[in-house]
């Protein structure tokens, strides 16, 4: 296998081609099937979370342990020299001199791109402010391919906060490589940004806005739910709005059998707990897949010959 990722930074989903994404998904599938507990033996990987994270950090760290790598790092920027006023550029220079790769999350947008310019080892972006979270997109793609058997020509319905949700933006951008069709269901105040719609138009991607999940569910392959954050609305408005963006067994009544529901988690009440018991629920498997997608990235970035 020709490794497309050896020593490469993973900063933005926009840097990845269709072939790149396919390679990661193929390797993730192999690693899910067959554990490779010694693949990262002798590698030291830094996990630098300047901003708190649960799933991303824990799944990265699990991925490193499962492949036999060694981990150093911190889970909260408050305890680092950043607090003393050190620039991120200096911090990254220092950490990169100790390690073989750096996984980082930072509250500022563009932090990972900048870090990649100062680091002597590959940078993997675990989220930079509201900008990018490429490994979330890779695990989303892996989950979609796993449950649908393919990525091409699928209809994906995005629901909830489509304005601020970076996972939605990145996944929509990634799926443009696979001739997807999109339905967008969101309150006006949280609609998909114009610049992204413009990008979809330029790439000839079919999309429409819909008012309710029910009207598009019968022709949907994937429902991608996100959380409408209470703090973005006043209380009465929230109550009125939120109920429209909740998925229940009733909403799923006309769903095709193969339809799966994804959610980047954490969920609050936008997916009723009753849905967990249906064959449509795929969000916990999706979260689990985060470990395999991240293992795949690490395996490719740190091994010239890949798997």
């Amino acid at each position: 296998m020709d490794n497309r990722f050896y020593n490469r930074d993973i900063v933005s989903i926009a840097d990845l081609s269709r072939e790149d994404m396919e390679q990661i998904l193929d390797v993730a599938a192999i690693l899910k099937e067959t554990p490779h507990p010694t693949l990262l033996n002798g590698k030291v990987i830094a996990s630098c979370f300047f901003e708190a994270s649960t799933r991303t950090r824990l799944s990265f760290e699990t991925a490193i342990h499962r492949l036999g790598g060694t981990l150093i790092g911190f889970a909260d920027g408050g305890n680092t020299s950043a607090k003393k006023g050190e620039t991120l550029a200096d911090a990254i220079r220092m950490v990169s001199s100790y390690t073989d790769a750096i996984i980082m999350r930072h509250p500022k947008e563009g932090a990972a791109r900048m870090a990649s310019e100062f680091s002597g080892v590959p940078i993997i972006n675990g989220g930079d402010g509201a900008n990018q979270h490429p490994t979330q997109t890779l695990l989303d793609l892996f989950s979609i391919k796993e449950c649908q058997g393919q990525l091409d020509n699928l209809t994906v319905t995005f629901v909830g906060d489509l304005k601020y949700g970076r996972t939605v933006h990145s996944l929509a951008q990634a799926l443009t490589h696979f001739n997807a069709t999109f339905n967008f269901i969101a309150p006006d105040a949280l609609a998909m940004p114009d610049y992204l719609l413009q990008e979809l138009d330029e790439k000839g991607i079919r999309w429409q806005r819909s008012d309710t999940i029910e009207e598009v569910i019968a022709n949907t392959d994937i429902v991608y739910m996100t959380r409408v954050q209470k703090e973005r609305f006043d209380e009465t408005e929230y109550k009125h709005i939120a109920s429209k963006y909740v998925l229940t067994n009733e909403t799923l009544k006309t769903a095709p059998e193969h339809l799966k529901v994804l959610h980047p988690l954490p969920r609050v009440d936008e997916i009723a707990v009753e849905v967990d018991q249906t064959p449509h629920a795929y969000y916990f498997e999706q979260a689990r897949n985060g470990v395999y997608a991240r293992q795949a990235l690490l395996a490719l970035i740190l091994n010239e010959t890949g798997l």
Binding site: L88, A89, K108, E109, G110, R113, M114, G129, Q132, Y195
Partner: protein, 152 residues
């Protein structure tokens, strides 16, 4: 002289001609031309065959850097730059909007990493319909040129 305009010739320096009327003042401001002691002659709303009306700026004893020329291209894509030596035009070129722009403008996104770290801003430029858009290399946000140019 017929219809020719009487604007004082300069011995050595730069003439920015064919600026769309109204943009001349912005260029004076943007390039901090008034901060220097350079002798400057300006003409606003002069008749122009190509533009209807145009502005013109003559700067004595000053050549523009590549970065200044790039900034200029954003505001006055129709402009031409004449380099003058010994009262003669020794070089003449039209503005072209560059593909990238480094260090010229701050990123309008206040949460962009470029505001806190030792890096220059960096934008990729592209034309969309009548607008020029700038995409920040770092935060990846896209801005129209008017928004970027408001903040420096």
């Amino acid at each position: 002289m017929g219809n020719k305009l009487q604007v004082e010739a300069i011995c050595q320096g730069t003439v920015i001609d064919h600026i769309a009327a109204g943009q001349g003042v912005k260029i004076l401001d943007r390039l901090h031309l008034l901060d220097s002691k350079a002798r400057i002659t300006v003409g606003f709303n002069l008749p122009s065959k190509a533009l209807g009306f145009k502005d013109i700026i003559k700067v004595e004893g000053r050549m523009f850097t590549e970065q200044e020329a790039n900034e200029l291209a954003l505001f006055a894509p129709s402009a031409t730059i004449n380099v003058i030596d010994d009262y003669r035009v020794v070089d003449k070129f039209a503005m072209t909007i560059p593909e990238t722009l480094s260090g010229a403008f701050s990123c309008p996104n206040s949460n962009c990493i470029t505001h806190n770290e030792p890096v220059d801003s960096f934008f990729y430029l592209r034309h969309v319909r009548d607008d020029t858009q700038l995409k920040c290399r770092y935060c990846e946000k896209i801005f129209s040129k008017e928004i970027v140019a408001e903040l420096k």
